[in-house]
Amino acid sequence: MSGEVVFVLAAAAIFGLGVHGLLTAGHIMRKLLALNLMLSAVFLLLIVVPARIDGLPDPVPQALVLTGIVIAVSTTAFALALMVRLFRRQGHAAIHPDVDPRMLGHVTGRTSAGPQEEHDRGSGSR
């Protein structure tokens, strides 16, 4: 058993945990966390699986993963802004409008617009 095997197994476990998180999460931020975990697992596999060159990881996958990390943080930042906006508009942070009320906890029954509706509701102009 070598280090590579250990890290492949770890990546698989993390991927599975991410899948579990994605399936069970009601809150959008939890889904984002789960997706980020899965991405990390993929990145780990990308580095561990290709052959090492002179005892170091192949530079090409390293560059790919570095690119992937920056894309991941960009996407996450954008998704968080979208989540905050959606939360303002609908008052809860679940994706499905017809979500199981128990999952929304305290916001049950608050079906219409969110608690801090702004002046420029809708897509209209200022």
Partner: protein, 477 residues
Amino acid sequence: MNPAVLLVGLVFIPLVAALVAVILPVRFRRPVALLGALAWPLLLVPLSIAVARDQTLTLVFGGWTPPLGIGWRLDALGLVLLWVHALAGIAALPGAWHRFGPKVVAAAPFWPLWLILSTGVNAALLAADLFNLYVSLELTTLAAVALIATDDGIAALTAAMRYLLLGVLGSLMYVLGVGLVYAQTGSLAMDQADAAAIRDVALVLMLTGLMVKAAIFPLHVWLPHAYGNAPGPVAAIMSAVVGKVALVALWRIWFQTAADPPDLLADLLGLVGAVAIVYGALAAYMQPRLKMVIAWSSISQFGFLMLLLPLASQTAFQGAGFHLLAHGLAKAAMFLAAANIVTVLGSDSIRHLPGLDKRMPLEAFTLALGGVTLIGLPPSGGFTGKWMLLTAAWEQQGWFWLVLIALSGLMSAAYVFRILALTCFHPARRAVHELHARPPKITSLAALLLALLAVIIGLYPHPALELLGRGLPGGAS
């Protein structure tokens, strides 16, 4: 001059325009975006001549030949989709211009995003490198999601979020597949990356990832809400190209990276397409809103395009490629017409449709023409595409596919005629209440021209068919 250099313009004209638009104050963004969005399609004329002559154009960045560097490749299929992109984009401009004027809140980010979407689509169409395709598709997805969110309704924001999360899931599966291919073959170039043992797994991973992005059933769940709730011009450009870019990438990987794709998988994916055709059409028939009908119809039509994988012949490719062209134009036209209907009526509920042909005849005509293409009635472009696919199924004695293609026309007819019957022949043809100011006539005319174009290409199909007749995306026939 090597015509391949012109390819740079396809990506960098919209990109540089986007940068300029970001730097300039808000009031200058719209004209800059207009210039950028009108400039890059001009390159398609010389590029079409070059592709017609040389079959494919290739460009290698920095002179570092793959697998060291990144290559671009423009073939007939890419060219067809570039034309769809250009035409749909130009037709969507009047509507976008009207809706996102400088006084609108979302206009400041809208115009740069519009240009970035074009950049991403064109880069993804040209990509001949597996990882470059990933970054380009990410750019496309992110811009598309943000453009959907410019609507700011709960439905649009929810749709955007769902699209984003599923898109990330799809791309991470795709990247995992790419990583496995690289590990085994040491190359990321699409035509060098073939290998043996782990390939099928990697292929399945990459295809699944792309199927999410292309909204192929059963990974389609993001599409109807996204298209149905996005602002009209955005829905038009997205239905015309954004999903199809992923589909074209899927075809390319299928025929190029997997030089000898397994038959079982081909039949399975064809079957998935078959279910999508039926399911999408049924769902489209049930929808209470016009835009949702058009959106669900895309699921059905995308399923249709998956039939290329099991048929896999020259004729089938011509048919599928042509269908891509006709469907893209018709869909964009229908979404643009629907957008005008929403603007005027304040809603696109089909309850409001009766009597529309009197008050908004151009829109009603556009919907009818688009519908004709979707069904595949002669002489529309949709007919040519379906006919070629039928011929391909006949040649290979694929009776199941034959019946399916014939059936799909009937099913499209069901949801299209439901809309048209409601619009023109409903007994209770109430007067349409105009709630809002009518958008400028040019927006209606642009949609109508696009729909007409989708019919006209059916009358003159030869240039496109000849281009597509050069070969499957992999070059093999």
